[in-house]
Each structure stands twice: as C-alpha cells, then as structure tokens.
C-alpha cells in the first residue's frame, strides 16, 4: 500500500505493508533519526510528533498516519539544537540513542506545561526511558533549559 505523509513539512509518498509500524516505515524511507528502542511502546525512544502531538511511532500502524503530519527531530532543528546545548552541557546526552525522542517530548512539554515542578517534569517525561544517565543529568538539563526560556 502507499501512504501519503507530510514529514517535516515536506509531502512524501511511501510504499509499505499494511501491518508495518510507523518507526520502520520512516526509517526505511530514510528518516533514520527516528530510533527504535523496545518495539512495545514502553521506552519513548521512537517518539515523533503526529500533528504536533508526541506519539511512540513503534506502536502506530503506518496506515493510521496516512494523510497526517509527522515531525521528527530533524523537523524542529533550531529548537532541538537549543535544548541539545543544555543536554550536552550536563553530559546527559551519553549514548544519545534516546535523545531525539526525549528531546521531542521535552519540546512538547514546554508547550503544554507552564513552569512545571520537578515532579511534573518527571511525570510528563516518565514514558521516556534512558539506561545510561540515571535521569538526574537529563533533569538538570530540562530545568536549566526551562529556566532559560523565562529569562
């Protein structure tokens, strides 16, 4: 089957099988910035924005995205770069495999929550697992990034 998506603002048509999940379809189409972590919707690594809303792309049948707008980390380059500076300043990028999905969700949180508390940040980001950092460095980066937005 063929699906039509708008990925990072550009229309694309992709050939895929009816059962394919969006992560695989995007990767096969060259959007390799979308990473596959657990494949069961638990880790948040495959996060993309579907019409601006973060979703785990490994749990979305690609056909369901037909006609919709997908944003990957490469589609929010400037914003991602801004947050990336905070993340690497803490050394919390580490292996980086979870970073694109994590970053997309941080950007979504920034839009959704006004001045979130530490607990609110942890709760919003709970679906983004990381095996390297122990989360503390990521938290330091998020807090400093959000503070900088207010300045």
């Amino acid at each position: 089957m063929t699906i039509s998506l708008k990925v990072n603002g550009k229309p694309v048509k992709i050939e895929c099988n009816p059962g394919d999940v969006l992560t695989d379809v995007l990767r096969n189409a060259g959007f390799v910035e979308v990473k596959k972590g657990c494949g069961t919707g638990n880790c948040g690594i495959c996060t993309v924005l579907l019409d601006g809303v973060p979703v785990p792309s490994c749990s979305l049948i690609a056909g369901r995205a037909d006609g919709h707008e997908i944003t990957t980390i490469r589609g929010v380059e400037a914003e991602a770069r801004e947050f990336a500076d905070f993340l690497v300043a803490e050394g919390a990028d580490q292996c980086g495999f979870c970073s694109p999905g994590f970053t997309l969700n941080v950007l979504a949180m920034k839009k959704e929550l006004k001045s979130p508390s530490i607990d609110e940040i942890k709760h919003y980001m709970a679906g983004n697992l990381c095996r390297c950092t122990g989360y503390e460095g990521q938290l330091r980066a998020v807090v400093k990034y959000l503070e900088a937005q207010h300045e």
């Binding site: 069961t40 690497v88 095996r131």
Partner: protein, 773 residues
C-alpha cells in the same frame, strides 16, 4: 571546578553530543547500505534438543530469498564469543551453528532475503525435526546432572580453567590465604549466610546490530555495535577460519553496551551471508532477540562465612560461589573470579581468606559480561554479611567498615593471587579516599547510628543503609591500548585510538588528555576511533579500562608528539631541542629570538621545507602493571510500607573516589547511571523463565527497568583524589557506581524490619514474606 589543569578536570561537552541529540545518522543501522540483504535467525523453540533434520527447500524457493544456512553449511570450529584478550579465559564451546540447540532462542538457521518480511516468511517455511532432550534449568542441580549440555568432543579451554563439560562445569577455581577453618574456629563471632543474585538484562537501547560488505579489495568489512572491534576481528577470523588481514571491523556511534556488546554475536551471521552471496548484509536484533538470545548477568549463589572478634575485627572470610553461565561459557571464569578479586581486598586485615566454587552450564540464555562483572554479586553478599556482623556485635555498621577496610598505602594479598582467569598482580594502593567517601556520605544522607529506622506513619518505616565498594581500572599485564597523534596542516591534530566510546564520552576525555599534555585546546584534537583498519590496537571498552589504559596510551602518544615537534622545530631553527619551548600556540627559542606559530609550522612541515618535509606523528601504547581500584561509599534512605511490602528509594548518596575526573560531568553521569542500574537490580529487574525454559521477561512490558519516577533522588559527589599511575591522576569510573545498591538497600531493609533479605530483587512479596517470619 578550579584546578591546575587547562583541559582535563573540565566538563567539556561530549564531542559527538550535538550531532547525536539532533538526530544525525550515526549508529550502525543508520549507515547500513540500502541494498543490504536482511538477515534473520531461525531460533530454537526448545531448551535442549538435537536437530534430526532440517529442510529449507520451500523457504529457498520463495522469491527474494538470497540464502539459507544451517549447521551443515558451516565449518565446525569451536570458538568463544567472549571479547577478551588472547588466549581467552573462556572455553571454546560455541559453534556458529550446531546440530544441538541449548536454550530457547539458540540459533538454528541463518536466512537472508531482500527485505525483512520475506526473511521472516522464509524462516517460517523451514521445517525442522527436533529430538527434544531433557533440559537443565536449575543451576543448583546442573553439576553432575544426567543431562550433559556439551557432550561434543571438539570443545576445549585455552588454558586450565577447571573446565569439565562432562559434569556441566564451565570453570572452577579455589584459593586460600592462611587457614580459614582454623581462624574461624578461633573466632568469638561467627556468621554464615547464603545469598542469591538473579540474572539481569542489560537493556542497551540500541539492539545488537551489524552490517557487512566486500570492499573493492575483496576484503570483508563489518560495521558493528561492538565494545571490542579488535577482539571481534580476531574471534571472527577464528570462527570463520579466515586470515585477520581480510577482515575490517568498525564501530560507529553506539547506543549503549554495559557489557552486552563485549562479545562477538551477530557478526558471524552476516559475514557468512556476505561471503556466500557477495552482497551487503545486515542484521538488527528485535528487542525479543536482545532479551532471549544475547547475554545477561551471571546468576549466582554465594555462601559467606565470616569470623571476627567481639569488637568487630574481621579475622576470616570464606566465600563459596556457584555461578550460572547458561548455555555457553562466555566470561564464566572471569566474572566468577571478580566476585572475589574486586570485593575481598576491601577487608585486607583478615588473616585468612578463601574463595572458591564453580560455574555451571544450564539450558538458559548465555550469561556474559555485564557492568559490575561479578563484583556487584560478590559485593551484595560481602556487604550484607558485614552489616550483619555490625548488628551481631551491636556496633554502627559504618564503624565496622572503618575498622576493617583498606586504606591508602596498604595492599591485599588477594591482588597478587586473583587476577582475571589467572594470577593477579601485586600492588600497593596509592590512592584510596574511602575514608573521605564514607565521611562525606554520612553527612549527605544524615547518618545517625542511633536512628537508622523510624516510623513516619503507622506501618510506614523509613530507614537508612550503606555499603562500600571497589572496582578496578583495566586488566593489568593483559589489556593494552594505543593511540597515534598526527599534526595536520592548519595546526590541529588527528588522534587515532582503538578505544571504543559506548556513549560514555571516552572519545571526548581521551581528546582532553591529549590536549592537556600538548598544551592545546581540546578543539584542536579530532578523534578517529574504533576501526581495525584505521586506528591502532586497543582491547576495547570493558573492565573499566578506557580512562586508565587508553588514557595512559594517549598521554604517552602526546608526550612523544611533543618531543617530535620540538625536535623538528629545533632543526628548523638550528638550535638544540632543549632550547625550544611550546606554549600551545607558539614555538619559540628560550632566548625569544626565534618563534613560529603551530599553524605556520604545520604548513611548513608539509609544504615549505623541500627535501625536509615530513608528517609529524607519534604513537603511545600502554599496558598496566596495576589496576588501581576506584572506591565508593553508597548510602540509601528508603521508605518501607509494611502493609504492602513496597520499598521506595527516597535518596541514594554516592561518594566516589575515581582519582582525577578527566571530565567531571561525564564522570558524575557514569556514577548516576551506574547507581540507577544497581538500584534496578536490587529492586525490580529479574530475568524469569517458564518451567519449559522459555523466557517470560522478553519485552519491556514484562522486564522492568527503572523509569525517572521510580527513584526519588540520586546524589553523587566525587572525592578529591589523585592516582599517581593514572593519566593526570585518573582512575576508572564506569562500573563502580553499580556495585553498592543491592547491599545498601538490603541493609536499609534490615534496619527497617529487622529481617535480612538474601535473595535479589527485593520485590514486595519477599518483603511481606520476611515480615511474616
């Protein structure tokens, strides 16, 4: 952090950080050729079986299938998948494909097709007739079981490791210092307890992945998510009976390892496909395959006996260990030995010490290297019983540690006797700030020996516990790293290292070490790493070796590079080399009469000096005479609900002596990440099997790793310490963080409810059961 250094001991951002976070193609699968054949593995549904027949005709006839390989198509060469030095201390007990399958998930056939869907379809069409054999699933019943897991005659060890496959024993070992029984008999206080540690999954988020192709010269090239490219080349050459000169292994960016990738695993499959078809091939493990068919932590049973006087002076320690290596013996002996060699020296005042036991085969997924590597298992047992000693004599657990523990300037006989698979090396501890780590940890957690548990609500108790730990810094006399520096036109340096950055930031800290020694900013060092064709040898990232072993190699390369440059400038100026100085930008004679910038000099060496033009390059290699341990004190505050049995981690304090932190932020993150993995092992993580040997925990739905909401706070501080033998005073930091949580949390639970938990992990059911006793 203000200090005397310009580049090291500074928290520079990781050199690959921005690229990774913003999603640049960097990992193995991102770089795989688009026309690569997709390789899938048909796996055993049985825990133990013999393949009676295998028919791939129908699968082969499927359009899009490029090749299918079964055990009959592969040369029968026993090898080990353990990424270790040569000769490997792991038995050569694995065949790429075999007539026998030894666990659910073991390899039966290799399928290569044009796309994934076709490969999966083909694998479903292969007809296999199995003779199902009775499996050995309980590791306590494995030795001398009527079922022999490895009856084949070709398997062997590389040197004596106590390998007795006819008895299901992969390795065994005994050592004794002094007379343990005599000392124990004379002790006023004697304790004995048996502890169980579970198998833990690594859960690196990038799965095992590799791709292969034949290059223009007809050589096999493999890009792999590996922790040890050079070992992979050697082991693959052996498994395929191929000259090493025909193989290249390169490691791109890698999405975590934690020991899981200190093995050769997927490389033989794609190599066989590429060699047979001449086409590029790639394999990406599914998460299920990562759980069921890679490696996990050795499950252990550890029986501790400790003898002391009434004041708490430890006189004798006896550790007997049974370890489960699963179907194959990767890292069997060495993880087992580290259980003693990286725990027992903590208490070096004991007069008699014994360590022994065996490592057995079972029909479960193979155990392998995993951060902590035996030390976390041993630490749980040793630090639990040390706490029990404190309770028995009525002393502060901290005081009992302080009166027995190793200190700067001291040694332990264990260092000399126990190495990794063979004898160790004698060493005096030149840096040990364990006393500070404990003192500072007490302050940070608010340690009051009179108030280690208190009720905050009816049935809800808060409690504190602690443990200390040590690890190592590389494997002395066995593991080697090397580095090459080369001056480039424009006045910057190419740093080529065999070392393998797993996302830890080692490429960055090695650049910092080179920059510090050369006196230039780190931005003038460009790193090329982990490629067997293009970088010098290095054992790879394991055994907490990179900062110390590879770091020392980089330091030597930089010292040599400075000499080479000063000599070349001296020749240019027509003065003796000792009259030339370099300030990081400018070479000048000491009298100030002649000078040239690094940039101009770099152009001159390559373009402007006629017959004298040359590439300025220098290499350094390092293999350690010792393995200076990093140390740590871990303190935890928990809340325990007696109604539900739930234990919550409110705060975990880690104070670590890793020598000079080359990059304090990256060192701190290593500890934070290690602590959380250790907490995961203590609290939730557990690889479980059904009665027929199928793994029950083969997804992240069923295998629980900590999320950011599962732990209150992790507080990490680094002690001010300097290791004279390390690069700019550095020791290792990669593993030490993981070691203390199981014991510290067990000790806190003991303080909370008065019952000692001895079986990891501490799930609510176990706490409730303990409360009923």
């Amino acid at each position: 952090m203000n200090n005397e250094f310009k580049e090291v001991k500074h928290s520079l951002p990781k050199i690959d950080g921005i690229g990774l976070v913003t999603g640049r193609p960097a990992y193995t699968d991102d770089l795989a050729p688009r026309d690569a054949l997709v390789v899938k593995i048909l796996r055993s549904p049985h825990a133990f079986a013999r393949i009676k027949s295998i028919d791939a005709q129908e699968a082969l006839a499927l359009p899009g299938v490029a090749c299918i390989l079964t055990w009959k198509d592969v040369k029968r060469i026993p090898y080990t998948r353990a990424g270790q030095g040569h000769p490997e201390p792991s038995p050569h007990d694995k065949f790429i494909l075999d007539e026998y399958v030894r666990y659910v998930g073991d390899e039966v056939a290799i399928i290569a097709a044009e796309d994934e869907a076709t490969a999966i379809k083909a694998s479903n069409l292969i007809k296999v007739d199995y003779e199902v054999l009775p499996p050995v699933l309980d590791f306590e019943k494995a030795a001398d079981n009527p079922t022999v897991i490895h009856p084949e005659s070709e398997i062997h060890d590389m040197f004596p490791i106590g390998f007795k496959p006819q008895r299901n024993i992969a390795a065994s070992y005994e050592m004794e210092i002094g007379d343990v029984e005599k000392e124990l008999a004379a002790c006023e206080v004697k304790l004995e307890k048996t502890f169980y540690t579970q198998s833990q999954a690594h859960v690196a988020f990038e799965p095992h992945v590799a791709f292969s192709y034949i290059d223009i010269h007809g050589r096999l090239n493999i890009y792999s998510s590996t922790q040890n490219p050079f070992h992979t080349r050697r082991l693959l050459g052996q498994a395929l009976d191929m000259p090493l000169s025909n193989i290249r292994i390169a490691k791109p960016r890698i999405g975590g390892g934690f020991g899981a990738k200190q093995h050769i695993l997927v490389e033989p499959f794609i190599a066989l496909v590429t060699l047979k078809t001449g086409r590029p091939a790639k394999i990406v493990f599914t998460r299920k395959e990562v759980f069921e068919s890679s490696f996990n932590r050795h499950q252990m049973r550890i029986t501790m006996r400790v003898g002391a006087d009434k004041e708490g002076h430890v006189k004798a320690i006896d550790m007997n260990v049974l370890s489960n290596t699963g179907a194959y013996g990767e890292h069997a002996l060495t993880t087992f030995m580290v259980g003693g060699s990286k725990t027992l020296p903590l208490y070096n005042k004991a007069k008699a010490v014994r360590y022994g036991g065996k490592v057995v085969y079972t029909n479960k997924v193979s155990a392998g290297a995993y951060r902590g590597y035996g030390a976390i298992q041993g630490n749980f047992a040793l630090e639990s019983i040390m706490d029990e000693l404190a309770h028995t004599i009525g002393k502060d657990p901290v005081a009992v540690r302080e009166m027995n523990m190793i200190r700067e300037g001291e040694t332990s006989e264990v260092f000399k006797i126990m190495g990794e698979g063979s004898e160790g090396v004698d060493m005096i501890i030149e840096s040990c700030k364990l006393d500070y780590c404990i003192r500072r940890g007490k302050e940070l957690i608010g340690w009051d020996p009179e108030k280690l548990a208190w009720e905050v609500a009816p049935g809800v108790v808060r409690a504190k516990g602690m443990a200390i730990a040590m690890q190592g810094s590389g494997i002395p006399l066995i593991d080697m790293g090397s580095a090459t520096l080369e001056l480039q036109d424009g006045g910057w340096f190419k740093l080529r290292i065999g070392a393998t950055d797993l996302g830890t930031g080692s490429d960055t800290i090695l650049a910092q070490i080179a920059a510090e020694e050369l006196g230039v900013p780190t931005s003038l060092i460009n790193v090329y790493a982990s490629d067997t064709d293009h970088t010098p040898y290095d054992v790879g990232a394991y055994a907490s070796s990179t900062t110390y072993v590879s770091g020392n190699a980089v330091l030597r390369a930089a010292k040599n590079m400075k000499k080479v440059m000063l000599q070349a400038v001296a020749e240019k100026f027509g003065v003796p080399a000792e009259d030339v100085q370099f300030d990081g930008m400018l070479f000048s004679t000491k009298d100030g009469k002649k000078s040239i910038t690094l940039k101009d000099f770099s152009f001159d060496t390559l373009y402007h000096e006629g017959a004298n033009m040359k590439t300025l390059t220098a290499t350094g290699s390092y293999s350690g005479l010792k393995s200076p341990p990093p140390y740590m004190a871990g303190f935890v505050e928990i809340e325990l609900d007696k109604g539900t049995g739930k234990v919550s981690i409110l705060n975990y304090v880690a104070v670590v002596d890793c020598g000079t932190p080359i990059n304090p932020n990256l060192a701190r993150i290593q500890v934070e990440g290690g602590v959380l993995q250790g907490i995961g092992m203590a609290m939730w993580e557990n690889v479980k099997y059904a009665d027929n040997g199928r793994m029950l925990t083969n997804t992240l739905l069923t295998y629980t790793i900590p999320s950011r909401e599962d732990v209150g706070k992790i507080t990490v501080e680094l002690a001010d310490s300097y290791e004279p033998s390390g690069p700019f005073g550095a020791k290792s930091v990669a593993e030490i963080g993981i070691d203390t949580p199981p014991a510290a949390i067990a000790n806190a639970i003991r303080n909370a409810i008065g019952v000692r938990l001895t079986d990891l992990p501490f799930t609510p059911d176990k706490v409730l059961l303990a409360l009923k006793k």
